[in-house]
């Protein structure tokens, strides 16, 4: 296979870069299974509330809707960032990536406040099997977002310092896949943890 294929977007032009994107999709497959096991534990233990509160007692929809809106919008923005990258608009790309991370940080802030509220209401990770599984699921997702913020900052710094080339474009594109994936996981948490929980 030729070393450079200029008919493809910058991030796909070398064989190595194509394989990196491919490998990241395989990794996302493993992430799907990881979250599936966490959802499984949550579904199995969701009624084991012991003497603690159930989901319907502690879930509050306004902050959850805000989190959903923040993450959906940030996923849209990083998509625009990749598009801007592909048409060579580096400044616009950097602005979209920064906005993406700001909304991600906003999501995290709301989620942390939500956890603080739970703890203040006496709903901690050791209160019941339901809360242990809930906080493991939410916490694993939140940890992914936190890691994503650090990763995203590193990507922006590299693009600012080195400009767009096959390597930085490839890294920026792979990060966008990760960020969209976190949004997909959140949609399932929103639907099958919060909305299902409020249904009782």
């Amino acid at each position: 296979m030729s070393k450079e294929n200029t008919s493809l977007p910058l991030e796909y032009r070398t064989e190595e870069n194509r394989l990196k994107v491919f490998g990241f999709w395989i990794f996302l497959g493993a992430e799907i299974m990881l979250f599936a096991t966490l959802f499984t534990v949550y579904f199995v233990l969701t009624d084991r509330t012991g003497s603690g509160p159930a989901g319907i007692d502690i879930f509050e929809m306004p902050p959850v809707l805000l989190e959903t809106f923040l993450l959906l919008t940030s996923s849209f923005l990083i998509g625009l960032g990749v598009h801007a990258m592909r048409i060579g608009r580096v400044k616009a790309m950097i602005v979209f990536y920064i906005l993406t991370l700001l909304l991600g940080a906003g999501f995290l802030a709301v989620e942390i406040m939500e956890f603080v509220t739970y703890v203040n209401e006496g709903a901690t990770i050791t209160t019941s099997a339901f809360l242990s599984s809930l906080m493991t699921l939410l916490g694993t997702h939140g940890a992914h977002v936190t890691f994503g913020l650090l990763w995203g900052i590193a990507i922006i710094v590299q693009v600012v310092k080195r400009g767009l080339n096959a390597q930085t474009a490839n890294k920026a594109f792979i990060f966008s896949l990760y960020w969209h994936f976190l949004d997909v996981v959140w949609i399932f948490i929103f639907s099958f943890v919060y909305l299902k929980g409020v249904l009782g």
Binding site: Y12, R18, G29, I32, A36, T40, T68, F76, H83, L195
Partner: protein
């Protein structure tokens, strides 16, 4: 110049994901049976995932797309078997 930064498929995907979120929200704003509610949630969540994968992540844009579809579908099937297998044996009581 601004317009080229907002491609149609991304805007459509974003509006679609907002509409799907509102549709999912209908399960708690309207009175309905649990079965119907769970069906609506399953359909809207799946549609949201497809919007992200196809419109935002461009899963089908490369030559190895068949392998990507296979890999993602395999992961989803293993995940569903884990979830529903566990519910079947431990909760629903078969």
């Amino acid at each position: 110049m601004m317009k080229e930064l907002f491609p149609k498929e991304h805007v459509v995907g974003f509006v679609g994901s907002l509409i799907l979120t509102l549709a999912a929200l209908s399960v708690i704003t309207f009175d309905m049976s649990k079965g119907i509610a769970m069906t609506i949630l399953s359909v809207t969540a799946l549609a949201q995932a497809v919007v992200q994968l196809v419109l935002f992540m461009h899963i089908g844009e490369t030559e190895d797309k068949k392998t990507l579809y296979t890999s993602v579908i395999y992961a989803v099937v293993v995940g569903l078997v884990t979830v529903f297998g566990s519910l079947l044996t431990m909760i629903w009581g078969y």
